[in-house]
Structure formats: structure tokens, C-alpha cells
């Protein structure tokens, strides 16, 4: 079934031949800590913050960021997930796919400072879909974007506010983010292409 194929891509084995790690667990750890501080600093406190991860790995990253903010502030910060599948512009290019989870706080997104969290920023189309999805859910005070890796090659006028690592890549390369929550370890792996 088509959907099973999609999931296989998401939950793939931790390492392939020819892959090399560009970020290891400690690097990811440091990057997230830094982003957490930057988010907090700019928002001037956690009250209005809502960290919305884009499934699957964005959700885990949002939760990790929230944990760090809570450690610093001693207060919980709102998190959730925002599935953007229904808003994608490439739905018809691939078989129909299963939906991810959307979890929002009871009182929604109105008046919040929403930080969208994703693992890799590439064409910008996922973020575009996320902005559209947010638009149907309410009216945040502001929307910001945090990503673990920015690999370039934007196709839309979209820029991240918080970046773990800028990673110059060619389009022929694949970037794969592994997180302990689903992939048994933390790493950012790069494969293929010619540097």
C-alpha cells in the first residue's frame, strides 16, 4: 500500500552506505539549546509562546525546545503539532498519503507567538503550507520559524528565524535527520551528490 511506503521513508534504518554525519548528537544538543535561548530572548518570556512542530521530526524538536525553555524559565511552554499535508502543493505528484497529527492547545493560536519547528528547511514549500494551515486555524500575534538544518535552495521567499546549522548542499544530495525518538540516535546525515 502506498502509505506504508511513505512511512518506510520516515522510519528508515539509522544508517545507509555512503552517508556521512554532518552533525552528531552533541552538535544537535548545542544547537537546540542555543535556539531555545534565542526564542526566549526575542519573545521576552514564555507566556505567549507556542512551539508548533511539523510532523514527524519537527514535533520532537518542538518538544525538545520546550523542555529546554522550561529548564531555563521554570515554567512550562505550550507546544503542539501542526500537520500540513492537506495544504501541500505537491499532493497530486505522489500517491495519497496518511495524515500526521495536529495537536493544538485548548485556546488555539489566536494572539500567540507561534514558532513553527521543522527538521530541514529546503524549498520552503512545507513552511508555506504551514502558514496557510495556521491561517485557517486563527490569528497568531506573530509567526516565526525554527529549523535544525537549512540546506538552501529556496523556491519561495521564506527565511528561518532560528537555524541550528546552515548546510551548503547540492540538490543531488539528501539530508536525513535522525532523532532518538524515532531513529534510535541523533544525527544529521548527508548522502550522495558531488561536492
Amino acid at each position: 500500500m502506498n502509505v506504508a511506503r511513505n512511512q518506510a521513508r520516515d522510519d528508515g534504518p539509522p544508517a545507509h552506505d555512503g552517508e556521512r554525519a554532518v552533525l552528531e548528537a552533541p552538535d544537535i544538543n548545542r544547537a537546540l539549546t542555543r535556539i531555545a535561548h534565542e526564542i526566549l530572548e526575542r519573545a521576552k518570556g514564555p507566556e505567549k509562546l507556542l512551539l508548533l512542530g511539523i510532523p514527524t521530526r519537527g514535533t520532537f524538536l518542538a518538544r525538545r525546545l520546550a523542555d529546554r525553555i522550561e529548564q531555563v524559565e521554570g515554567r512550562p511552554v505550550a507546544t503542539g503539532s501542526l500537520d500540513v499535508t492537506m495544504y501541500r502543493d505537491d499532493l497530486r505528484l505522489r500517491p495519497a498519503r496518511a495524515l500526521g497529527r495536529t495537536d493544538l492547545p485548548e485556546d488555539g493560536v489566536d494572539g500567540r507567538i507561534v514558532v513553527l519547528v521543522d527538521d530541514v528547511l529546503y524549498s520552503g514549500r512545507t513552511v508555506r503550507a504551514a502558514l496557510d494551515a495556521l491561517n485557517d486555524l486563527g490569528r497568531p500575534k506573530a509567526v516565526r520559524l525554527a529549523v535544525l538544518v537549512d540546506r538552501g535552495h529556496r523556491e519561495l521567499p521564506i527565511r528561518a528565524d532560528y537555524v541550528g546549522k546552515n548546510l551548503p548542499t547540492s540538490r543531488a544530495e539528501t539530508v536525513r535527520v535522525c532523532l532518538a525518538e524515532t531513529d534510535q540516535r541523533d544525527a544529521v546525515l548527508l548522502r550522495g551528490g558531488q561536492r
Binding site: M86, P95, A96, L99
Partner: protein, 311 residues
């Protein structure tokens, strides 16, 4: 490849769970202020109804519209169909109009299967004769899952005119696929002969089955059956196979009562039962839209559908 939803028998366990899981996610949409998703923009869904069924039609219409599809309602009454146009010619017309999906309700068993031969788009069976009504079974399963959790090992009793019920057929296949244990209860005149191959039990004794039921689903008794000697009288039917408050009391704690509607209050179901806490009848209507959204999404959103049997 042509993919359709014609029968729940065509759905694998993975397919069925995918529909229910997708519906679970989509159920949030009906709670939002903007109850609309852009997903099926530019796709055309035709509701082709040869029988009057306002409830089913508006449920499919709401589902398609919430996904931003263009909806065309094609009622056979007063159209060229009532003047003798064949189903095939209707199919060719819809094809020429660029229908991406046709939702068909028809009085003839198997009409959706025939339609699927003549169309490139997806066909969704919205009830065919005395055969099947797959989205009704899916919304029933969705409702059960929300109330009771996982359906594996759940005991579901379906009571009434099994012989003529498309709801019963679709539910037997789907619930079996999902691991539930189904018992059909009916007077022997309303059970098909040769039930041996159906994946369910058959009983003529409602009271014996009641205490072992997590779900009791009551089927509507059509008025035309009442004068065809399937049973002596409405009163006798009601006495032996109706769900009244006394019988409700024999059901286990937490067991639920379902009815696909429209109900004959006082016939197969007492008003107090229909309106009780255990009744899911109103939820079933709400869930109908959600489940039909899931079906349309999975059939139409991608380059090829994620579910359904091939014709």
C-alpha cells in the same frame, strides 16, 4: 489505475485503519471556525442519486465541500435518467464533464460496480440496492472506536432485516476485518439462506445475545416488508426484536446502541432508548461527514488512491 470504494469486503485491515485514523485527524476540522481545507481544490465530485436519501447526500456534499472540491448534485428524478437514459449513458456524460469521483446511490445491487466499468474516475458506493453501504459501516466503526476503543474482540450485535440490509452486509465485512465478533439477530425469514460463509454468527434469540453485546445496532424495518409475510405484524416484530428500555437494561455496562437512521420509533427502537445516554445516533451523523471526508481525501488527493479495491 482505477480505484473505488464499492464494498467493505475490498478493504484490507490496513486500508480500514487508515481511513479511521485519517477520519480521526479530520474530525478536528468540524470543531474549527473555518471548517474547510483546500486539499481537493479543482476536483469535481458528483453525487449521483437514483434514490432519495437526503441524509446521505448532504453528508457526502458537506464532506466534499469541506475539502474544497466542486460538488455537482445529480438527482435522477426529473432528469433524463427518469426518461429512460441508461446508467451507461449517464456515466459517459459524467465522464465528459470531468468527474473525478462519482458518489452513487442506486436501487440496484451492483450498480456502482457497473458504473466503475464505464468511468475513469473513482466510484464511491453510497448504497446499492440490498447489497452494501460502505461509508455507513465505516462511520459506524469510527463511532464504536471513539466510544469503546480498539474493536479487536468487541462483540457487535446487528438486529433486524439482514436479508435486505446493505448496512448489515457492509458492517459484517468491515467489523470482521477489524477483529470484532459479529452476531446477526433476525427472524429467520429475514436472514439470507446459506449464511455459512459469512464471518459472523446468526441468532434468532435477541434476549440471549443482549447480555454479551458491547454494541447493539438496530436496523430499520422498511414498511414494505410489513405486508410481505416476513413477520406477522409490527407489534409481534417489536415484541421479539425491538429494543425497549427493559432490553436496554440487560446490556452490559458501557455497551452502546446504534442505528443508521432513519428510525421507526416504537417499532425497532423505543423512543427512550433512542434518546438514552447509550445511544450514539446523533454522533453517527456527525461522524458520517468526517469519515466521508477521509474516504474522499484518500481516494482523490494524490496521484493515485491510497485505499480501495480495483474493479
Amino acid at each position: 489505475m482505477n480505484r473505488h470504494l464499492l464494498s467493505t469486503a475490498d478493504l484490507s485491515r490496513d486500508d480500514a485503519l487508515l481511513i479511521l485514523d485519517t477520519a480521526e485527524q479530520l474530525s478536528q476540522v468540524s470543531d474549527r471556525s473555518i471548517k474547510k481545507l483546500p486539499t481537493l481544490r479543482g476536483r469535481t465530485v458528483v453525487n449521483l442519486f437514483f434514490e432519495d436519501s437526503t441524509r446521505t447526500r448532504i453528508s457526502f456534499e458537506a464532506a466534499a465541500k469541506r475539502l474544497s472540491a466542486d460538488v455537482i448534485n445529480f438527482s435522477a428524478k426529473g432528469s433524463s435518467v427518469s426518461k429512460g437514459e441508461s446508467l451507461k449513458d449517464t456515466a459517459l456524460t459524467l465522464q465528459a464533464m470531468g468527474a473525478d469521483a462519482v458518489v452513487i446511490r442506486h436501487g440496484a445491487s451492483g450498480a456502482p460496480h457497473r458504473l466503475a466499468n464505464w468511468l475513469d474516475g473513482s466510484v464511491v458506493n453510497a448504497g446499492d440496492g440490498t447489497h452494501e453501504h460502505p461509508t455507513q459501516a465505516l462511520l459506524d466503526a469510527f463511532t464504536m472506536r471513539r466510544r469503546l476503543g480498539d474493536l479487536d474482540g468487541r462483540r457487535v450485535t446487528i438486529v433486524g432485516d439482514v436479508l435486505h440490509s446493505r448496512v448489515a452486509r457492509s458492517n459484517v465485512h468491515l467489523l470482521h476485518t477489524l477483529g470484532a465478533e459479529v452476531t446477526l439477530v433476525a427472524p429467520p425469514t429475514l436472514v439470507p439462506v446459506a449464511m455459512g460463509e459469512w464471518p459472523c454468527e446468526v441468532s434468532y434469540d435477541f434476549d440471549a445475545v443482549l447480555p454479551k453485546s458491547d454494541v447493539v445496532m438496530m436496523l430499520r424495518v422498511q414498511h414494505e416488508r410489513m405486508n410481505a409475510s416476513y413477520f406477522p405484524s409490527a407489534r409481534e416484530y417489536s415484541r421479539r426484536y425491538g429494543l425497549d428500555p427493559e432490553r436496554l437494561g440487560k446490556m452490559p455496562d458501557g455497551a452502546i446502541v446504534m442505528h443508521p437512521g432513519p428510525m421507526n420509533r416504537g417499532m425497532e427502537i423505543a423512543a427512550e432508548v433512542a434518546d438514552s445516554e447509550r445511544s450514539t445516533i446523533v454522533e453517527q451523523v456527525t461522524n458520517g461527514v468526517t469519515v466521508r471526508m477521509a474516504v474522499l481525501y484518500l481516494l482523490l488527493s494524490g496521484s493515485e488512491p491510497a485505499i480501495g479495491g480495483n474493479q
